[in-house]
Amino acid sequence: MELIPRATFEQIRQERVEEIAAERQKGAKVVGYFCIYAPVEMVRAAGAIPVRLMRGGHAAEEAGERYLRADACSFCSACMGNFGIDPAYKQVDAVLAVNTCDMMRRLPESIGKHFGIPVFQLYMPRTSEPLPHRVAEFRRQLGLLAGDLGKLTGVSVPDERLESEIAAFNGLRAMLRQTSDTRRANAPLLAGSTMLDLAATAWLLGPVKAVSLIEEVLRMIAARPRPETKRVRLMLGGSMLTEDDRWLLDLVEEQADIVTDILCTGTRWFAEDVPTEGAPLDRLARFYFGRDCMCRRPNRALYECATKLAREFRAEALVYKTLLYCDPYAFEVKRLQQALGLPVLHLDTDYSTENREQMRTRVEAFLETL
């Protein structure tokens, strides 16, 4: 039985969106962001509410094709569609976009043009070696972002406020890590899908409210007896998995345990903390620059992360889900399989629902082989 039913997460999220709408009525500003390189600490320190825009969905994808070609990645298309559909997206006063992959770099231009939403484009060097001039440029970019956020909210980003947000988010990351780590055990009680729901809900709630939810989950895990049956332990990877991809996780977890992941909507968000030494913006620059992603060049840090997690969590196989036309992730499948030395199931699909039974067959066949 699930620790927390999906419906509960959905209710929490719905209530939070309503709460955000009410805060917005009182003058609060909402900043939408997409990926793990967005410094949420700065958004909150500027008095705005960060909302991660991470919905997919077939209807949204179709709606988005009005603005983008059919060979744009499904997530980008769904983003465009969701600005006209999703209640959380409709609350957004500005978008904070980071140039990760090429399509995400270009998406804000379409958002700005078609929805008139201001975009704060944060340039982060795509090359991953932390050379001083690259980190310094990123630090400069964060300074520019602070100015943009200040203009939006009328509030500057003071160091002391930034310090407290860094501490709060570090605390949230630590709690999520602790929760995820319960899956190191045999027959984990925490499902992979619940872990992703928890992370997604935590971002929306913000550190303070999220921590109490996570504490509750940890209490539930401690109180429940562990099942005796041993199932196959899997790692998840690939393009970002949104709330609308949970069907896939449910499908996998009918027969196996998802014990870890290398997703930007999962472990990679909470894997590390902002360092404690130095001025706040300098620390944020070092922290965010150092995050790994398949898009970075070279991307060996993500390979190291994947290898470490697979070993520590004793993963026996990898389920790797990419979105159609998501080159940065799709190109790496073969290489990743070689690096991990694990069986890999690669599913490359959009948000359409018609092929779910085919996916089911493939997942079941893959699990049978393990």
């Binding site: 603005y67 983008l68 070609r69 060979d71 744009a72 990645c73 980008c76 140039n99 992959c101 090429d102 399509m103 770099r105 270009r106 998406l107 231009e109 379409s110 043009k113 484009q121 340039y123 060097p125 795509r126 090359t127 070696e129 050379l131 001039h133 690259r134 440029e137 400069r140 520019l144 898009c295 060049r297 070279p298 991307n299 159609l324 036309y325 080159d327 940065p328 799709a330 190109f331 790496e332 499948v333 073969k334 290489r335």
Partner: protein, 458 residues
């Protein structure tokens, strides 16, 4: 150079067989005159008839139409000869450096070093079309890069095949605000390359000053210099780099004039001009000879303009072309259908910008790179299209894309919207299909219908 021994026929676009006949008329002493790497020995000759290259596998040459001048014949011979030239470079002790992704900046530095040759594996993207073969795409697929992406994946196939260029001494891979397909290819090439240096390409924000990003680029270029010095054992001077910039500017100036003569006076056709523009990226691995070939071409074009001779009819429909077609047959098709290209936005404009010779060389290279359309917005790219359309009174815009190409998927509609909003010009957007012997009938019909619309608006 003088053409006293040979006079060109009246300008025209000719087919493969006709070109062979023209080649027969070229005196032997002229054929003997042209050599690459400034070498007088027989192995460095390159003026061969197109049949030579068709026999070597470039089957598509049989279907294209070419300019009938000696200068064009020379240019084609030089360009088609590049694979052989790169292997000769290795044999003659030169360092062969693969420059990837930046499209025009890094070779200026590499070529400033003595006995070093830069080339772009990126440009292999034409090879599957020229050869009418999927061999390189299949090789890329074996390494994990399938069909739903840019044709530049051919470069990955070429690295794995080891027969399209020698194994480079160094790969300098630029990435950043660039297309994902090629960035992904670069990442996979890393495991096939003996040595690789990653160079950052910043993202340009048009609302903010570019100067800090130029400074970032200068730091990146200093790393290139440092790595080249380590590789060659040669400590480069500022004067050598300055001379490198000056030589590159010479090429860029020639190309600028050729663009003007072609777009305004139809002195050259689109196919030759595409080859000319891409030559500014890496000079087809021999800067001096490429410069000489361009000078020859320019003399021909100037002569035609002075005599009011045109290679395409005066009443041809005028179009601006956005994104280079991986299959050059599309250019021939459009011209056969009654249009001519009067402007291009081939995503390589950083290689066409003049560099400021009064500035420190690396700063000058960085400054010109910051004009690159690939690192900026689609709006900026559309503005370049709009400016050219205005300047040469274009009647329509053609955007040729690639299915699954990351920037094509995001930019095509935006560029079309901006152009329509500002100029009220019809825009045709289509995707280049896989290598084949002909333009697909469906796209051909769309091009025909588009040109019909342009004609009806006159």
């Amino acid at each position: 150079m003088s053409n006293v021994e040979y006079s060109d026929p009246r300008p025209a676009r000719v087919g493969f067989d006709e070109w062979m006949e023209l080649f027969d008329r070229v005196p032997d002493e002229l054929i003997e005159r042209y050599h690459y790497y400034g070498n007088g020995e027989a192995w460095s000759k390159y003026l061969f008839p197109p049949q030579t290259f068709a026999i070597y596998g470039m089957r598509h040459l049989r279907r294209l139409k070419f300019d009938n001048s000696l200068a064009a014949l020379r240019m084609w011979g030089f360009v088609q000869n590049e694979t052989e030239r790169l292997f000769r470079a290795r044999q003659t002790g030169r360092r062969v450096i693969a420059t990837m992704g930046d499209l025009g900046a890094v070779p200026v530095i590499v070529n400033s070093f003595p006995h070093c040759v830069a080339f772009y594996p990126d440009c292999i993207w034409w090879t599957p079309f020229a050869m009418e073969s999927r061999v390189l795409f299949d090789a890329a697929a074996e390494l994990g890069v399938g069909d739903a992406t840019c044709f530049s994946r051919a470069a990955l196939g070429a690295f794995s095949k080891h027969s399209y260029f020698p194994n480079p001494d160094l790969v300098i891979a630029s990435t950043g605000a660039s297309c994902d397909d090629y960035s992904g290819v670069e990442q996979l090439v890393e495991s096939l390359a003996p040595d690789m240096l990653w160079v950052e390409e910043p993202m340009r924000c048009d609302a903010r000053p570019a100067r800090p990003l130029e400074q970032l680029l200068v730091k990146e270029y200093e790393r290139v210099v440092e790595r080249m010095e380590k590789l060659t054992g040669h400590s480069i001077t500022e004067d050598e780099l300055r001379e490198g910039v000056r030589r590159a500017n010479r090429v860029r100036k020639l190309v600028a004039r050729l663009r003007e003569l072609s777009f305004r006076d139809a002195a050259l056709a689109a196919l030759e001009m595409m080859v000319v523009e891409f030559g500014s990226l890496h000079y087809y691995s021999d800067m001096d000879e490429w410069t000489a070939a361009l000078e020859h071409l320019l003399a021909t074009a100037e002569g035609r303009a002075a005599r009011s001779e045109r290679v395409l009819p005066e009443d041809a429909l005028r179009v601006v072309w956005v994104t280079p077609p991986a299959d050059p047959l599309f250019l021939t098709y459009v011209e056969d259908a009654g249009a001519r290209v009067v402007g291009t936005e081939y995503v390589i404009n950083q290689a066409l910008e003049m560099m400021d010779e009064s500035k420190p060389p690396l700063a000058a290279i960085a400054e010109s790179f910051m004009a690159a359309s690939l690192i900026g917005t689609s709006k900026a790219r559309a503005q370049s299209v709009i400016q050219q359309a205005r300047r040469y009174e274009a009647e329509g815009v053609i955007i040729s894309g690639i299915l699954g190409g990351s920037h094509c998927a995001m930019e095509g509609r935006l560029i079309a919207d901006y152009v329509k909003a500002e100029l009220d010009l019809p825009v045709l957007e289509f995707d280049v299909t896989s290598p084949s012997r002909e333009v697909s009938r469906q796209i051909g019909t769309r091009i025909d219908a588009f040109l019909e619309v342009l004609r009806s608006r006159r």
